[in-house]
Symmetry: C2
Subunit: 202 residues, 2 copies
């Protein structure tokens, strides 16, 4: 069944511990992730609460390598990989897919504002095509208070039409239940239809 | 005199030419920069109009290397180097300083919103200290419609007090003359004072 190996349950927005020199602390990060997994939590690493966008791409790649090398299970992980640059997003996403992560949480490009829906569609479209891996599962990250650039129902509809296998769901951090319900009603309930298997996290 | 070797005149926001595979085109970039210099323009490369934030750090480093290698004069350049990550900002800024660029145009970190002035101050403060080069000349980049996070008079005052030699000016892209005048009156006119040499570009 299509959804059988989808990640389920609670995913913790994983804090990133930093040393006093502002570099991330891999040992405390690994210990924290192990504890979360022991509590039956999935790991939303490199999200907004993680200060991921204050890290360099290299730091994010290295931390994920260290986490996997420490034996934390990638099938429990949904790292954030969305950057302003398509190239960097593809690099972080391919790396997560190769590690066997359950999925990736992907911001739209967030520097330029008032981008057209077509522009945002092309960004995600390029990323899917460039990653070019059937294991790819993207969870679109809607957090308008921070990213300003958001995920719209029409965007999801277009992406599901083109890349149903790779667009696995979304995280709606709008804090607006009406918005969440709009996406649930439009996409999550279409079991058996061509777009079955779109999960909405909050 | 303090301001003698400061960059002066018109700086063009330099467009970045892209190939159809979305990678930057160094040959057309170099040709365009040469032409701009021949028209007596300085080069504000890697700004907002340049789509710099859609490029990876590596692409920006490589393009600047290629531009300098082609014989375009670094003393005419003010590359944009402000990223969300202090580490990446330091890397791009140090690279520009080592090439002998006239200055760098530096965005505040722009992912997280409603950051305190203290937080933005510490970002610039860390960058100045980590670059640790007396040749460093930062032009603070105020473009609130896009970055949302802005540059305030009190921030400039604090930075000038701590790092007068490194904080060389600002670019005010607010499009609001009253805002520009506020900064001109407060900082640019203090010739002979301890904060002489703060230039305001629009």
């Amino acid at each position: 069944m299509f959804q059988a190996n989808r990640i389920r349950g609670v995913l913790a927005p994983v804090l990133t511990p930093f040393k006093s020199d502002l570099s991330p602390d891999p040992q405390r990060f690994i210990a924290h992730c192990r504890w979360l997994v022991s509590q039956n939590c999935g790991l939303a690493v490199f999200g907004t609460n993680s200060e991921a966008n204050s890290l360099s791409s290299e730091e994010r790649l290295t931390l994920l390598d260290q986490l996997v090398a420490a034996g934390v299970e990638p099938s429990k992980m949904m790292p954030g990989t969305g950057c302003c640059s398509i190239g960097e997003t593809v690099k972080l996403t391919s790396h997560a897919v190769k590690h066997g992560c359950a999925g990736v949480l992907m911001l739209p490009p967030f520097y330029y504002k008032e981008v057209t829906e077509e522009g945002v569609y092309r960004y995600f479209s390029e990323v899917v095509q460039r990653v070019g891996d059937r294991r790819l599962k993207i969870y679109l990250y809607h957090i308008p208070a921070v990213a300003i650039v958001g995920i719209t129902p029409r965007l999801v509809e277009r992406l599901l039409k083109a890349y149903a296998g790779s667009i696995a769901g979304m995280k709606d951090s709008s804090g607006d239940w009406n918005n969440t319900k709009t996406f649930l009603d439009a996409f999550a309930a279409r079991a058996g239809g061509p777009v079955s298997g779109f999960d909405v996290f909050v």
